[in-house]
């Protein structure tokens, strides 16, 4: 079986804020079609790495490429991003917000797509409801819809299940699985190791601004005497956390 191509390449990446280096020297690749877990304790630089990859933060040094070039919105490969800091236009209706983002992402019929999605996630009656009148879980469903509405080639999810109830969590994992089946490359930042073991093909464990562990889930587990990822995480960060 031929080796899958690297759709994301990060080389010698360094970034810091206010004189403090967050990522020292990070290199990794994400292969096309895989589910990649970006793991680490709070504040270790996972979100910063993703923001730098998407051009939101400028790298101090190194190269962060998506499909061979720096990310530019609307150009080249389609990226869906569900950020950790999630928000929507609170005073607008659900359908207006989804329609707006759909148009920005180049959808031809964003309204139709949005209505179908809302029906799927059980929000069809809330299409015209103002966003701030939805519950937190309902808002998260809308945010997820906006993230995947352009049928992304790469889906980046920053703590996607944070705050989800079990029903919504299952729905989200279903959608992730569905996209994965269709060939979408997925990068997940999460603290739930059961999700990682169940979903991820390969993982990167960040510690002190460098890659502490990098490889397939089984490779990482083998290196740590076949302990569970949960136990490995506790072993690595336990003393500090």
């Amino acid at each position: 079986m031929p080796e899958k191509k690297n759709i994301i390449s990060v080389r010698n990446f360094r970034i810091g804020f206010g004189g403090k280096t967050v990522i020292k020297n990070l290199s990794f690749d994400v292969k096309q079609g895989e589910i990649f877990g970006l793991l680490g304790s709070n504040g270790c630089g996972k979100t910063t790495t993703i923001r730098a990859l998407l051009g939101i933060y400028p790298a101090e040094r190194g190269e962060l490429l998506i499909n061979g070039e720096p990310f530019t919105p609307g150009k080249g490969i389609k990226v869906g991003y569900l950020p950790e800091e999630r928000g929507l236009y609170k005073k607008e209706s659900v359908i207006d917000v989804m329609n707006y983002f759909g148009k920005l992402r180049g959808l031809k019929q964003p309204k139709r797509w949005s209505l179908n999605y809302l029906k799927r996630v059980g929000l069809e009656d809330h299409a015209k409801t103002r966003v701030d009148r939805l519950s937190q879980g309902q808002q998260q469903k809308v945010q997820l819809g906006i993230t995947i509405m352009n049928d992304p080639d790469i889906l980046i999810l920053d703590e996607p299940t944070k705050g989800f109830d079990p029903v919504n969590r299952r729905l989200l994992l279903e959608i992730i699985d569905e996209l994965h089946q269709r060939g979408t490359t997925i990068i997940m930042i999460t603290h739930y190791m059961d999700e990682v073991e169940k979903l991820c093909d390969r993982i990167l464990l960040l510690k002190d601004g460098t890659a502490y562990a990098y490889g397939t889930v089984s490779e990482v587990r083998r290196k740590h005497r076949f302990k569970s990822l949960d136990q490995i995480f506790v072993d690595i960060y336990g003393a500090k956390e």
């Binding site: 804020f17 998407l54 939101i56 919105p73 609307g74 950020p83 928000g87 236009y89 983002f101 992402r105």
Partner: protein, 417 residues
Amino acid sequence: MSKVGQVVKFEVVRSLKKPSFWIAAILVPIAFAIYILICATLGYNTGTSLESGSAVDGLKLAYVDEANYLKDNTFTNEAQNEQTLAKYEKLDVALNDLKQGKLNVLYHIPEDFKDSGQVNIYTKNEKNSVLDDYKAPIAALLTASAKSNVYEIDYKIISEEINYNTTAFASDNHVIDQKELISKIIPPAACLALFYILMVVLGNRLAMAVTEEKENRISELLLVSIKPISLIVGKIISLMLVGIIQLIILLIPVGALYILASNQGMIPQEFSFDLDPTRVILSALVLIASYLIFTAVSVLCGALVSTAKEASNFTGIIVFIMIIPLLLLNIFLDNSNPTLCTVLSYFPISAPMALMLRAIFDNITNIELIIGIIDLTVVSALIIRLATYIFCKNAVDFSVKKNFKNLLGKPRKSWKD
């Protein structure tokens, strides 16, 4: 439609959907109308002609003239009917008749009237109101009596009815027409008023234009969908359009009233002017450039800070700097300090008001106005670039305090145009 177009459409539509926009848009003209009405009412109450004051046609009027000043007791009332005041010799008898309802208004000119200048008015009606004002008839009779006591010219001098004809020569010695002078003032004065209204009505909205994305944590979702420059330009265009819509809402009733009044012949000859098209176009361009720089500076404030409240504080400072020329009105009026006037005209934040004031007082040439418009437009473009750059720097920095050193750090490569 381009992404900029999508941002413009989304922002304009949601601005127009907000009740606060319509409340502000309609309240400002109403507030102006109320102001004009109050001024008119005050004038109405203090007038002395028979056209002003409460209607007296059909009322029973009388007077007691202890000073023997009045020469006549008949006047023409507001309905253009001759009306005569009944004469009473004794005040107590007249007051008695008033109290019994035989009279509606009684005027008492006391014996010491020539020294005190005092006239007493007594009224009795079914409904007395604070707006009742019955001094017009007695004022008319007193005026007529005063006229007969002195030479006509003495009366005109005292009552300031002398016509002073002034002939002013321009620098090239041609005689300046007063109407021409006023027609030159109208376009910049109207633009100054409109700009002021835009600042008052839309100032806060402009400041909040880019803080909303930060406050509501939408920036990251947006920044993977659209380039920051497209987002900022789209926001600015939408804010300009909202301002134009605001002006149209303001100008339509004014224009309609003017046309209606013109067609009805209600506008006196001296109030109809032939406006100089060059002046009108230049004033309109100054207004557009002024609103552009106000928008750009407001967006820059929004990009610098994290919350709408902070942005409002910044905008308050900007508005204060913008109205500094108004506070220095005298130097524009008499052009006593041409250097300061010129500096204020080309310093971008004070330039809008300074250019308009100099145009109103005719202290500026068309070439200088054009330079001012170019200055405002170029600086606005630079400010928009700076606002975009700063927005990129702190779009996802949700902390309140900003570090200016960090804000001016290295730009990212992928968003460069």
